[in-house]
C-alpha cells in the first residue's frame, strides 16, 4: 500500500485597506449601490490612464518587511489580457516578471497542545494588482448585470512555496497570514466580503518521491473551513484517481461547499494565453531605501518579535507565546491583562486568556474584541487569585459574574457575594476536625491506602466552607490530622 504525501501551495488575494483604488481616485468602500464607485478610469472609458496609488505600495512594503522579504528596488506592472464583462479594460494590471516583494517566510503553529509543532513556510513572492468587477447573474431576467465598484480595488497576491504537507498546515498558514495582514493593518481580513481569499494548489506523491505530482488548483476559498474541506476532498480524490490507474491532469477546480466536492472549471488545455507585457501607461515602480525606511518606522511590533518578548520577558512557553500572538486583538488583550495583574502573574494570565476566556467566547460565539469582560476586569480578578483572596475555583464564579455584568470589578463581586477565601488556619482546622469526625468511613478507607477517600474529605471540607477555604491549607491540615 503506497503511503501518499500531500503537497500544498497557497495563493492568497488580500484586498488592501486603502481609501481609494489602486489606479484611480474612486472609493473602495464595500456595499455601495452598484456602479456608484466607478469613475472614468474604472469604467475604462476611451483615453483614460492609470495612476498608481502610493498607499497600496506602502501596504506591499509593510508586508515585505513583516515577512523578512526583499522589497524590490524596481518592479514592473504588466497587463494580463483577457476578455470578460467585469474586466473593463480587457486586461488586468498586475505584476508578472518583476514583483514588488520577493521571498520571505512565515512561522506558524500547527495543531494544539502536545501535538503542536512549529512550521516555517517560505513565500515565493507578493505582487500588487487590481481586482475585477463583479458579474451578477441573478435578477436580470436571463441577462447578467455588471457592478464595477470593485474594479480597481488594490490586491496583494501572496504566493507561498509548496511547503504545506497537510490541510491542517494549509489552514494554519492561511490563519497566520490572515492574522499578519490584519496585524500590520494592510487588509481588514473580512472573508465574507472577499477581502481575503485563497487558492490552493494541491498535489500528492508517493512518500519519498522527490518530484511533485501534477497539481490542481482549487480557486476562491473564502473561509478556513472551506479551505480544509476542499483540500481534504481533493487529496482523497487525487489518491483515488491514481490508485485506480488514472493520471491527474493539471486543472483549475472549484469547491462546492454544499456537496463538499471539487469540480473541474477548466483544464490546462483551455488555459488562457494572457499575453502579459509591461504596461506602457505606467513607469516601473522604483522603491528607494528612504521609502522602505519610512514604512519600517511605521510598523507595529510584529507577531514574531512579540512572541520572542513573551518568552524572554514574561517566561511563557513557546506554545503559549505563539497562541497569544495568533492575532493582534488577542495579544493586545493579553498584554493589557498582564499590565493590571502584574508580570508575576504572566503565566496565570496566559492560562485565563487562552483557556477560560477562549472557552467562554467560543460558547457565546464572540470575538475577543467583543468580550464582555475587559482585560482590566480580568487582570483585577487574577490579582485576587495571586494574593490568595480567592481560589481559582471561586475565581471562575467571579469571572462568570463579571461576564454577566453583575458588577464592574472582581472586588465588588467578591464583597457582594462574600467570596473572600478563608485563610484563618484556626477556622479551617475546626472545619477539618468536624469533617473527620463526621466521616469515619472515609478516614478508615484513606488509612487503608485509598487515595480517593482523601479527595472526598477535601470535598467535604470545601463544602462546609462553601468553597471559600484556601484549598492548599485544607490539604495540608487534612494530611496533618490524618497522619496522627
Amino acid at each position: 500500500m503506497t503511503q501518499w504525501e500531500v503537497v500544498i501551495g497557497i495563493e492568497t488575494h488580500a484586498q488592501l485597506a486603502t481609501v481609494s483604488k489602486i489606479f484611480s481616485g474612486a472609493s473602495t468602500a464595500f456595499g455601495a449601490a452598484p456602479n456608484t464607485q466607478a469613475c472614468a478610469v474604472d469604467l475604462a472609458l476611451p483615453g483614460v490612464l492609470p495612476v498608481l496609488n502610493k498607499k497600496a505600495v506602502d501596504c506591499a512594503i509593510r508586508f515585505g518587511l513583516a515577512i523578512g522579504a526583499q522589497v524590490a528596488a524596481k518592479s514592473v506592472f504588466a497587463r494580463k489580457n483577457y476578455f470578460y464583462p467585469d474586466l473593463p479594460k480587457g486586461y488586468q494590471i498586475s505584476q508578472m516578471d518583476l514583483p514588488v516583494v520577493v521571498g520571505g517566510q512565515i512561522t506558524l503553529q500547527v495543531g494544539a497542545g502536545d501535538k503542536a509543532y512549529e512550521k516555517v513556510v517560505t513565500l515565493t513572492r507578493a505582487h500588487l494588482e487590481e481586482d475585477a468587477g463583479k458579474s451578477l447573474h441573478e435578477d436580470f431576467h436571463g441577462k447578467s448585470g455588471i457592478d464595477l465598484n470593485r474594479a480597481g480595488t488594490p490586491l496583494l497576491e501572496i504566493v507561498s512555496e509548496p511547503d504545506m504537507r497537510s490541510s491542517d498546515e494549509a489552514v494554519a498558514y492561511a490563519r497566520a497570514l490572515h492574522a499578519l495582514v490584519r496585524w500590520i493593518g494592510i487588509c481588514d481580513g473580512n472573508m465574507q466580503e472577499g477581502s481575503f481569499r485563497c487558492d490552493a494548489n494541491v498535489s500528492v506523491r508517493p512518500k519519498g518521491q522527490a518530484e511533485f505530482g501534477t497539481r490542481r488548483e482549487i480557486k476562491n476559498l473564502n473561509s478556513f473551513r472551506f479551505l480544509k474541506e476542499a483540500i481534504d476532498y481533493e487529496v482523497q480524490w487525487q489518491i483515488n484517481e491514481i490508485e485506480e490507474g488514472r493520471k491527474i491532469q493539471q486543472a483549475t477546480v472549484l469547491f462546492d461547499p454544499d456537496s463538499g466536492e471539487t469540480r473541474m472549471m477548466r483544464s490546462k488545455e483551455d488555459a488562457h494565453d494572457y499575453r502579459y507585457f509591461p504596461d506602457p501607461d505606467l513607469l516601473p515602480l522604483v522603491i528607494g531605501s528612504d521609502w522602505i525606511e519610512r514604512v519600517r518606522g511605521e510598523l507595529p511590533e510584529l507577531p514574531q518579535q512579540k512572541r520572542e518578548r513573551f518568552i524572554s520577558e514574561l517566561g511563557l512557553s513557546a506554545y503559549d507565546a505563539a497562541t497569544l500572538t495568533a492575532s493582534q486583538e488577542m495579544s493586545d488583550y493579553y498584554e493589557a491583562t498582564v499590565t493590571v495583574a502584574g508580570k508575576a502573574s504572566a503565566k496565570p494570565c496566559a492560562n485565563w486568556v487562552m483557556v477560560d476566556l477562549a472557552a467562554r467566547l467560543n460558547k457565546d460565539g464572540l470575538e475577543i474584541a467583543a468580550a464582555p469582560v475587559s482585560p482590566q476586569q480580568l487582570g483585577g480578578l487574577i490579582q485576587r487569585i495571586a494574593d490568595n483572596t480567592i481560589s481559582n475555583n471561586i475565581a471562575k464564579k467571579v469571572f462568570e459574574a463579571l461576564w454577566n455584568g453583575e458588577a464592574a470589578t472582581a472586588d465588588e463581586i467578591i464583597d457582594k457575594q462574600g467570596l473572600k477565601q478563608i485563610t484563618d488556619s484556626g477556622a479551617i482546622e475546626s472545619l477539618v476536625e468536624e469533617v473527620l469526625a463526621a466521616n469515619p468511613v472515609n478516614v478508615a478507607e484513606y488509612r487503608a491506602g485509598k487515595e480517593k477517600a482523601f479527595n472526598a474529605l477535601v470535598g467535604q471540607v470545601m463544602k462546609a466552607a462553601k468553597g471559600k477555604a484556601n484549598p492548599q491549607q485544607v490539604n495540608e491540615l487534612l494530611k496533618k490530622k490524618l497522619a496522627v
Binding site: A40, A44, P46, G47, R79, P88, R275
Partner: protein, 485 residues
C-alpha cells in the same frame, strides 16, 4: 482674415477688429461650404462653437484673455471632449459622446480660451498613413482632391491646408502629424514623448503616442504648443519638465548651427523630386549660416519592423476595452457572450485595425513574445542610442519627412507594406521619444514636399527656431492651394 497667422488673429481680436464669434462664424461657414467635398471634419456643432466663441469674447472684453483666447482651432477626433461625439475615426465609437475632457482639450479650451470648430477626420484609431481607414470615409488633399492628405491626422491637415481652420491638433505615433503636414504643406510638431499629456487622448500605442500642433508656420506651432504642454498627474508618463515659452528663441540666428544629415535618409527609397527639394533646403540652411555634418543612424532600417511589432502589441491590448459591454458599438444580434464579443469587434473595427490587433496579439502570445516583442524592444533601444550618438556631433537632424509626395486615393490601400513605408523616416523618432517636425520645403509636380527636423530631447524651442528662420527666408509655407481663396 482666413490666411492670418495666430499672432495676427490674436492682434485682430485684441484690437476688436473682429470678434471671436465673427471669426468662428467665418470658419464655420467655410467648413459648411468645403467640408462636404474634403471630408476633413467628422463633427461640427455650430451652437457649441459659437457658445465657446461668445464666452471668449466675454473674456477678451473683461481683459482676462490669454494670448490665444478666441482663436478657433480644429481638434483631431482622438481627443475626448465633454459633450462632443468622440469617434477616433471608428464605427466602434460612432455614437460615443465623451463625458469628460482630455487634458489637451481642457488646457486649450477651458484654460486658454480657444474655440473648437469641430472634430477632424482621421485614420481609424490613428492607424494609417492616408486617412483611408476612417469609418467616415477618406479625406481629400486640398492640393489635389484625387490624392490623400496623409494620415493619421489627415482631417486636421486638410482642414488647415484648406483654411477651414487656422490651426489644428494632431497626434503622432509613427509620423501621424509630420507625414500629413508634409503632404498638405503644413508645419507640424511632434513633441518629446511625455511633454503633452495623453490623458483623454484615445490610445493607439501608449509608449509612442504624442499629441502636437499642426499649423501654417513654426511660429503658430510654438504658440499652440505653449497651450498644450505641462505635467499632468493623470498621465504617469507625463514628464515633470519646467514650463517654457516655445516662442522665445524663434528669432535666434542660425549661425553655427550644426545640421546632421544621416546617410540612411539620403539613400535609395526616396523620390528624386522630393530629394531635390530637400537638397535645396539644405543649401538654404547653409546660406543662413548653418553647417552640415554627415552622420549615421545605423539601425534606422530596423525602425519600421520594430515599430510594427511594438505598436500593434500595445494596440491589441489598448483596444480590448472596445468590447460592446459598456459603451460604443454592440452587434445587434448575438447568441452568447463570446458571440457578442466576436460580432461586435468584427463589425465595429475596420480591416486595418483588425490586422494590427491580430499582429499585436500574435507577437505577445506565448512562444513568440521573446522572438518578436522583446527583440523589438532591444532594437528600440539601439535606435534610441543611435540618436544619442548622433547628437554628440550635431544640433538637429535633417532629412525628408516622407519618401514621396501625396499619393492617389486608393493607390496604396491594398498594400499595407507600401503604406507602412511612407513613414520610414518618421518612425524612428517615435521609437526614440524625440521631438520632430515637418516643414514645407518646396513642391514636386505641384505637390508639397516636407522637410523633417529632429531635435534632441526637450529641444522643441530649438527646432521651432530652426524652422522659423527658414520660414523667414522662404515662402513655401505661405503657398495655398490654387482654389483656396
Amino acid at each position: 482674415m482666413i490666411h492670418k497667422s495666430l499672432k495676427e488673429l490674436a492682434q485682430a481680436l485684441a484690437t476688436r477688429e473682429i470678434s471671436s464669434v465673427e471669426l468662428s462664424t467665418l470658419f464655420l461657414d467655410r467648413i459648411a461650404r468645403h467640408n462636404p467635398d474634403l471630408n476633413a471634419f467628422v463633427t461640427v456643432d455650430r451652437e457649441k462653437t459659437l457658445a465657446m466663441a461668445a464666452a471668449a469674447d466675454v473674456r477678451i472684453a473683461a481683459g482676462t484673455a490669454g494670448p490665444l483666447t478666441g482663436i478657433p482651432i480644429a481638434q483631431k477626433d482622438i481627443f475626448c471632449a465633454e459633450g462632443w461625439t468622440t469617434t477616433c475615426g471608428s464605427k466602434m465609437l460612432a455614437n460615443f459622446v465623451s463625458p469628460y475632457d482630455a487634458t489637451v482639450i481642457d488646457k486649450m479650451h477651458r484654460q486658454a480660451g480657444m474655440v473648437a470648430l469641430g472634430k477632424t477626420n482621421m485614420d481609424e484609431f490613428a492607424m494609417g498613413s492616408s486617412n483611408e481607414t476612417s469609418y467616415f470615409g477618406p479625406v481629400k488633399n486640398p492640393w489635389d482632391r484625387t490624392r490623400v492628405p496623409g494620415g493619421s491626422s489627415g482631417g486636421s491637415a486638410a482642414a488647415v491646408a484648406a483654411r477651414l481652420a487656422p490651426a489644428a491638433t494632431g497626434t503622432d505615433t509613427g509620423g501621424s502629424i509630420r507625414q500629413p503636414a508634409a503632404l498638405c504643406n503644413l508645419t507640424g510638431l511632434k513633441p518629446t514623448y511625455g511633454v503633452v499629456s495623453r490623458y483623454g487622448m484615445i490610445a493607439f500605442a501608449s509608449s509612442l503616442d504624442q499629441g502636437g500642433p499642426m499649423a501654417a508656420s513654426a511660429e503658430d506651432c510654438a504658440l499652440l504648443l505653449n497651450t498644450m504642454v505641462g505635467f499632468d498627474e493623470r498621465d504617469s508618463t507625463s514628464l515633470d519638465h519646467p514650463v517654457e515659452d516655445y516662442a522665445r528663441d524663434l528669432a535666434q540666428p542660425l549661425a553655427g548651427l550644426r545640421i546632421g544629415l544621416p546617410k540612411e535618409f539620403f539613400g535609395e527609397g526616396c523620390d528624386a523630386t522630393v530629394m531635390a527639394a530637400v537638397q535645396e533646403a539644405i543649401a538654404e540652411y547653409r546660406r543662413l549660416g548653418a553647417t552640415t555634418v554627415d552622420i549615421s543612424l545605423p539601425n534606422s532600417h530596423l525602425s519600421v519592423p520594430a515599430y510594427y511589432v511594438i505598436a500593434p502589441a500595445e494596440a491589441s491590448s489598448n483596444l480590448s476595452r472596445f468590447d460592446g459591454v459598456r459603451y460604443g458599438y454592440r452587434a445587434p444580434d448575438y447568441g452568447n457572450l463570446d458571440d457578442m464579443y466576436m460580432k461586435t469587434r468584427a463589425q465595429g473595427f475596420g480591416a486595418e485595425v483588425k490586422r494590427r490587433i491580430l499582429i499585436g496579439a500574435y507577437v505577445l502570445s506565448h512562444g513568440y513574445y521573446d522572438a518578436y516583442y522583446l527583440q523589438a524592444q532591444r532594437i528600440r533601444r539601439l535606435i534610441a542610442n543611435d540618436f544619442v550618438e548622433a547628437f554628440k556631433s550635431c544640433d538637429v537632424i535633417l532629412g525628408p519627412t516622407s519618401p514621396s509626395t501625396a499619393f492617389k486615393l486608393g493607390e496604396k490601400a491594398a498594400d499595407p507594406v507600401q503604406m507602412y513605408l511612407s513613414d520610414i523616416y518618421t518612425i524612428a523618432v517615435n521609437l526614440a521619444g524625440l521631438p520632430g517636425m515637418s516643414i514645407p520645403c518646396g513642391f514636386a509636380g505641384g505637390l508639397p514636399v516636407g522637410l523633417q527636423l529632429i531635435g534632441d530631447y526637450f529641444a522643441e524651442a530649438r527646432l521651432l527656431n530652426v524652422a522659423h528662420r527658414y520660414q523667414q527666408a522662404t515662402d513655401w509655407h505661405q503657398r495655398r492651394p490654387a482654389d483656396i481663396a
